[in-house]
Amino acid sequence: MCEQAVAAIIENHRGQPEALIHVLTAIQHELRWLPREVLARVAEALGVPLSQALQIASFYKVFSLTPKGRHEVHVCTGMTCHLCGGDRLLAKVEEATGLKPGETDAAGRFTLERGSCLGSCSIGPELIVDGRHHGRMTPEQVEVVLAQYP
């Protein structure tokens, strides 16, 4: 299923070097990471050097060159969240998951990321799991929230 989708994304943009970011975004969406052999196929099909695909894939935060966990945990590190206790929240999430930002646990359950400001500053500090916002978080609530994501 995934393989077909990826092949379709690539085929739809064959010969379109300007679609590189679009294609990588779509594949990241589909697979939730960008395997190197897929990057090589994309580069070849779109007609861009592999070095450019690698530069873009490693440059932007959206792209991941390693597989991600089932649940993506973002602790907002925007300014307001920082001012309102985001550091303590992040420390607690690191402790609860055993992860540092950018890491995925061995069981593939969580990937922890520093989240950029999503503009929900009024309800910071925030924890965002799989796109779902958990606002006005205290460190004490972390375990309860994470338990909702097996």
């Binding site: 070097p17 450019q52 935060k61 959206v62 400001c117 999503l118 500053c121 009024s122 916002h133």
Partner: protein, 552 residues
């Protein structure tokens, strides 16, 4: 969906549309803005839908799920029309009572505003202090329309400015109007929009582009998202009018990938605008062609820098261009490209509809119109506010924002996110004005205002901001990549009690070299927080260094 081939067809349709709508009919507007959404306003909206169905109220009570109302602190927000009764912190359990009260022309007192000091209860929007001091020209329509319905936008007078521009004005007339209105860019620089448009318009290259920058990478700024998500057609209308003035036939909206509702609304709005004939060929029979493509950021701040943003639209690595040629002359694919942010474009329809004199009558001497400001940090009432330019920080923070949370004292006001500056409390009567705030070292940027209480550690703030910027730098040029890296190391040292006497001098020198030497706007302005700290909070830094050096 109807497609309008002429302005007359559209006007006829609008007349029918308005005739079919009863302004006196009760209507519930449930806010689905970013904060309310995070507070599960979806459950509240669902409860209204269910209750309306259960009581069979269709036709007697309208329900609208809308963009941000503004008072984010007290979400989920619900506004009940026609009297605009505001309900705050609404839960699904409140829904039956709100419906009952609304239909009976009454107020459900349990969830209306209560003044924290006088304990007085206030129901109508226009009397609540948070709203009373605002002039909501841009965001005021948010509660009045469902962003997914173009007819809602038409019903509040939407696309009338486009009709006026296309049918009664030449492109030169439109440009002249925007110049006379003295509209300045809302994205950060405050550069006159008309002059920028003119540069692109007059550039010799025939193919030209217009871009709406809705990336809003500035941390703690959230008004552009509220505008674009809550009323996408207003931005699109502004963009079409601008393209007409400039002579562009292709536009781009560049926005965030990580805001699903924003993406959904903009996509729907573009499709509807095209279906109605506001985008495409021969718009409303005027002979003017224009289409818009949607592009997304891929999660890095530097793509908010205009030349880097344009490289990203081209599909290239988002490194800024090293050329000394403005993007308004040579931008996307080296074509003249006029970029304005979402709020700037949103101002265009009203300037055309109501005229430059009207617009220039609002605001301060050199900053005209209103400004959207997002209030957050240690403030009682966090949210999005819209005030005339020239409003004092005191009005923003105290009269509207309700002052500092938890009874603490105000220490500083920070503007402009990671590339902004912090002003000490002494400047509380400074005015929201591009030039005045820049002169003070806290340029308004996009308009994110952060309130810091007496306990705020200013060394930590600078360290935190530099840490953020270091991660966002593209790394191409030395002063940005290395200068920020060294500044971060010094600030971390001071914060951790390892500061040394000459650190402030090293910081000042790095700040100067980074701002003079860097390639793009990110690097050039990255040292702004450090500069404002050294200007206003030097004593705190010195004290920290001294204290650190005493510990063994």
């Amino acid at each position: 969906m109807p497609k309008f081939n002429t302005a007359a067809e559209l006007e006829q349709y609008c007349a029918h549309l308005l005739a079919a709508r009863d302004p006196a009919r009760p209507c519930i507007a449930v806010c689905a803005g970013a904060a309310c959404d995070g507070l599960d306003s979806a459950a509240v909206a669902q409860a209204f839908t269910d209750e309306i169905a259960r009581q069979n109220l269709a036709g007697r009570l309208d329900l609208r799920v809308t963009g941000c109302h503004g008072f984010c602190e007290k979400g989920p927000n619900v506004i009940a029309g026609p009297q605009d009764i505001c309900y705050f912190e609404v839960t699904p359990g409140d829904v039956p009572e709100i419906i009952r009260a609304t239909l009976a022309g009454e107020v459900y007192e349990a969830k209306i505003y209560r003044d924290p000091e006088t304990r007085e209860k206030i129901a109508p929007m226009s009397e609540i202090p948070y709203y009373k001091h605002q002039v909501r020209l841009l965001i005021g329509d948010n509660p009045r329309l469902d962003p997914l319905k173009i007819d809602d936008y038409l019903a509040v007078g939407g696309y009338a400015a486009l009709v006026k521009a296309l049918t009664t004005m030449t492109p030169d007339d439109v440009l002249a109007e925007v110049k006379r209105a003295d509209l300045r860019g809302r994205g950060g620089g405050g550069f006159p929009a008309g002059a920028k448009w003119e540069t692109t318009k007059n550039a010799p290259e025939k193919t030209k582009y217009v871009i709406a920058n809705g990336h809003e990478g500035e941390s703690a700024a959230f008004m552009d998202r509220a505008m674009l998500t809550g009323n996408p057609h207003k931005v699109i209308e502004g963009l079409i009018i601008g393209a007409y003035a400039i002579g562009a036939h292709q536009g781009f909206i560049y926005t965030r990938h990580d805001a699903p509702r924003l993406v959904e609304h903009v996509k729907a709005a573009l499709a509807q605008a095209e279906a109605y004939g506001f985008l495409g060929e021969n718009i409303l029979g005027s002979g003017f062609d224009f289409k818009v493509e949607l592009h997304f950021d891929v999660g890095i701040f530097v793509s908010g820098e205009s030349s880097a943003l344009m490289r990203s639209i081209e599909g290239n690595a988002p490194e800024p261009r090293p050329k000394y040629i403005r993007t308004s002359v040579s931008g996307i694919w080296d074509k003249p490209s006029n970029l304005n942010n979402v709020e700037t474009w949103a101002n265009v329809p009203q300037i055309i509809a109501r005229g430059a004199e009207w617009f220039a009558g609002i605001g301060s001497e050199k900053s005209k119109g209103t400004k959207l400001v997002s209030l957050s940090g240690h403030i009682v009432n966090s949210g999005i506010v819209e005030v005339p330019m020239g409003t004092t920080l005191r009005t923003l923070i105290f009269a509207i924002g309700g002052g500092v949370r938890d009874g603490k004292a105000l220490k500083a006001v920070h503007f402009g996110g990671a590339m902004g500056g912090s002003l000490p409390v002494e400047y509380i009567d400074a005015r929201l004005d591009f030039d005045e705030m820049s002169a003070l070292g806290a340029p308004i940027g996009a308009g994110g205002l952060l309130v810091m209480n007496e306990d705020t550690d200013m060394v930590d703030i600078a360290r935190y901001l530099m840490d953020f910027l270091v991660r966002e730098s593209c790394g191409k040029c030395v002063p940005c990549r290395e200068g920020m890296f060294q500044m971060l190391k010094i600030l971390t040292g001071i914060a951790e009690g390892r500061g040394r006497k000459f650190d402030l001098e090293r910081l000042a020198e790095l700040a100067e070299v980074t701002s003079l030497g860097s390639l793009c706007a990110l690097g050039k302005t990255s040292a702004a927080p450090v500069k404002s700290m050294l200007q206003y909070f030097r004593d705190e830094y010195t004290a920290r260094i001294d204290a650190g050096s005493q510990t063994p």
